[in-house]
Amino acid sequence: MMSTNNRTLSGSVAPIWHRLRKHVPVEIPGAVAVTLAGAVLATTVAPFRALDWSLWVIFGLLALSFTFVWGRAGIFSFGQTAFFGIGAYAYGVLGIDLFPQTGETTTALVAAVVIAAVVAATLGYFIFYGNVGDVYVSIITLAFTLVLLTFMSSTADPSYHIGQALLGGYNGIVGVPPLMLPGGGQMVSPNGLLFTCVAVAAFIGFGIHLLLRRPFGRILAGLRENELRTELLGYDVRRYKLVAFTIGGAIAGLAGGLFAAWGTSVNPNVFSLPQAALVPIWVLVGGRRSLLGAFVGVAIVQGVSDALGGGGGSATPIVLGTLLIAVVVLLPEGVLPTLSALARRFVPALGRASVAAGPAGRTGSPLGDSVIDDSVIDDTVIGGESRKATSITAVDVHKRFGGVAALAGASLEVAPNGVHCLIGPNGAGKSTFFNMLAGRYRPTSGTVLLGDEQITLRRPDERARRGIGIKLQVPSLYGELTAFENVWLAAYGAKRDIGEADVRARGALAWLHLSEKARQPAGELSHGERQWLEIGMVMASDPKVVLLDEPTAGMTREETMRVVELIHDLARTATVIVVEHDMEFVRQLGAPVTMFHEGRIFTSGSIEQLRADERVLDIYLGRGTSHAAH
């Protein structure tokens, strides 16, 4: 990088160019380029074609909103058409009411976006703060869409009007003004509309691209990949989903407003089931994650059905249906991803060039994940500021599941720093206790303290932000994200600072000796490496207290030995609690041990002391009657 020369050369062109490159994200020239292409396009095509293509771009925006909400944030929402329809109706009503005063309709368009966003936010709040599950989200959003269909269809009576605009029932709103820019006083021509749509789509598309490169985008990716893990890293999952859903709603609303301006009429068909199903179809055909794919999918599906309507005869639905099935079977990733994979394979230069211009080289990148070496380890193990370890205390905790008491009054105080092991046979309550500390269960009664702070009723993400790092028994990583992104998300969850998160993430990988695998998807790492990576994520999140549930399950001896070292490193800055079955591992940790039995704490001491205790052996081997009353 040449940024050191900036000061000496100030005044000449080069540094300005550099500073521009540094501060102007690459998306802006991208959007400008597409807009210019749109201008060229709009001046050359016939008006009827400009109108057709305008519609495709508008539908493309709608599809894009779904790509963002589903492909990127993992929320399968049938509601995009609802927000699209709300945007269309809002534009229709406000266009009719405001146009006579203002002589333009951009206000109505902006209002359409705002109204759709507000409705999306309200519905999203209702859904996500109710912890509604995945499939159920899609059905709630579908039901919501159908409620609007039912309502709008039954507004035929002239008493349903807003200002001058009659809602018009099934016929819809008629006399919607076309797009009128301020100061023009004239409707935008078909070709002008195409240009406007392309420009709007370009800036929205590249805006989303930019957003996805920000931490927000990486968090959304995490959310999509593994919601639980993301929550345990301190992210309020509900809030991120809500924000994503609202943005998606706003974009769909914008598309809806443009749709109303395009057709100069709106009717309840926008809320119909076929329309709702069409949106995921576009996106699946184009490629579910690809922003450009949203537009490609629309162009293919609408292009084919438009063409067939002109002469496909009665075979149109059969051709369309076959096309959809063919896409699923032959191009499971969607058309665009398949094409770009092909392009990369046959034109290697394309792939290389864009990768080379990728992360490290591109200065505008807010997330620099440049390559790291293992030499940065310092006193604080992985670098950066560290928080102080604190104690964690449980007082008389009970937990009942239906009629079963999983915990019946467990109390434990673990002093700051050092390692502490929890053992016990299956069903002893140690896992329930662990989840109680992690915040995944709420105790029936009793309190949990972090240091002096009451955290009994805190959600896992709130605990994580307060400095509890958690590794669950089941491996829980972001398989499709890189190793670096995995630890980065952990670090950012704690620090909320890009620079600091970069430092900590690099440090954590170096600490794990995984630096050279930083760019590999976590899902491709070996079993042991994945387990280490998870411990690295805990470390990167700079915890005061660490909770590890069976961290060596399924590991080889050597891998286990490495984990012992890692845990000892962790214990230098944090209080570490390990739930473990493997007695040999517990012995190697050399830590004090607490044993659970029948939902209570049975005994505590060193591993040697427990091994010498006959009662402990009785419980483990299930012999004797006095202790193992199952």
Binding site: V132, Y136, I139, V147, T316, P317, I318, T322, L324, P332
Partner: protein, 290 residues
């Protein structure tokens, strides 16, 4: 307004037949969704095929009830073919399944249009009507209630009391384990898909004498069937029965007391509210309570 006993009896029957209708149109979908996690967007068209097969059977001189059973079996057979040719390649890919079954639904509708035309002669509602005081009730609506109970019972027995049912549930809950202990997961999935399709066919066959049998009829029912299945949650029989009871009951009650428009709206609003407060559906809530 005082409610007369005959009015009450009539209202109750109308309630029950609405519930039964919802149950029979949803059950097949519930099996596919609850047992296999397949979202079959062609479910409405499977219903439609059941209705058209019944129609064809009757036209060729078959007894209506025989035609209904054969129609259900025929749709089951089509389900098996669809599973073999298409669905089996898509397990675990929910969105892909949706796209493919949507494509399938477009094709099925148009194939039926090409064979039967956009409108074809239907079959009348069989049986007569019975009088309850001032009111009369179609006897077929009692048949519908009986058939709903029968189909739910049959599904329960097949899934819990047969070797196939045990294997099917095992294949769903622990596919690897099931395969390891010798369950032919491929065959089980095929049978489950066939079974669910046959139930959809039976639903369509039962609809044939009370609705207009037209190629586009599937679209009317598919939305409501989905609502019922999802509100019902993962338990196939308990979920379908409870959700149909709740949604059908609310719809019918509100329609009877106010207007049909409010009845439709009430069904949707109840579905939304239920899912908000019981995020895994009714049977999911029961399972968690246990």
């Amino acid at each position: 307004m005082t409610v007369q006993p005959d009015q009450l009896a009539n209202l109750t029957l109308s309630l029950l037949s609405s519930i039964a209708l919802l149950a029979v149109i949803s059950l097949g979908l519930a099996v596919l969704f609850g047992m296999m996690g397949v979202i079959n967007l062609a479910h409405g068209e499977f219903l439609m095929l059941g209705a058209f097969f019944t129609l064809t059977g009757v036209r060729h001189g078959l007894n209506l009830w025989v035609a209904m059973v054969l129609a259900a079996l025929a749709v089951g057979a089509i389900g098996v073919v669809v599973e073999r040719l298409l669905i089996q390649h898509l397990y675990g890919r929910m969105p892909a399944t949706m796209l493919a079954t949507w494509g399938l639904s477009l094709i099925l509708v148009q194939v039926v249009v090409l064979i039967y035309g956009p409108a074809s002669n239907g079959i009348p509602t069989p049986l007569g009507s019975i009088r309850i005081g001032d009111y009369s009730v179609s006897e077929y609506s009692l048949v519908l209630v009986g058939a709903a109970v029968l189909l739910l019972g049959l599904t329960y027995l097949v899934l819990t009391r047969t070797r196939y049912g045990t294997m099917a549930r095992a294949a769903v809950m622990l596919p690897d384990m099931a395969a390891a202990v010798g369950v032919d997961v491929r065959r089980t999935n095929m049978l489950t898909f066939g079974f669910g399709s046959a139930l959809a066919g039976a639903g369509g066959a039962l609809l044939a004498p009370i609705t207009a049998v037209v190629p586009s009829m599937g679209q009317t029912y598919v939305g409501r069937a989905f609502m019922t299945v999802v509100v019902g949650g993962p338990g196939v029989v308990a979920g379908t029965a409870s959700a149909a009871g709740l949604l059908g009951g609310v719809n019918s009650l509100v329609s009877n007391l106010t207007t049909s428009v409010l009845g439709t709206a009430a069904l949707l609003v109840v579905a939304i509210v239920i899912l908000r407060f019981l995020p895994t559906g009714i049977s999911g809530y029961w399972e968690r309570k246990r």
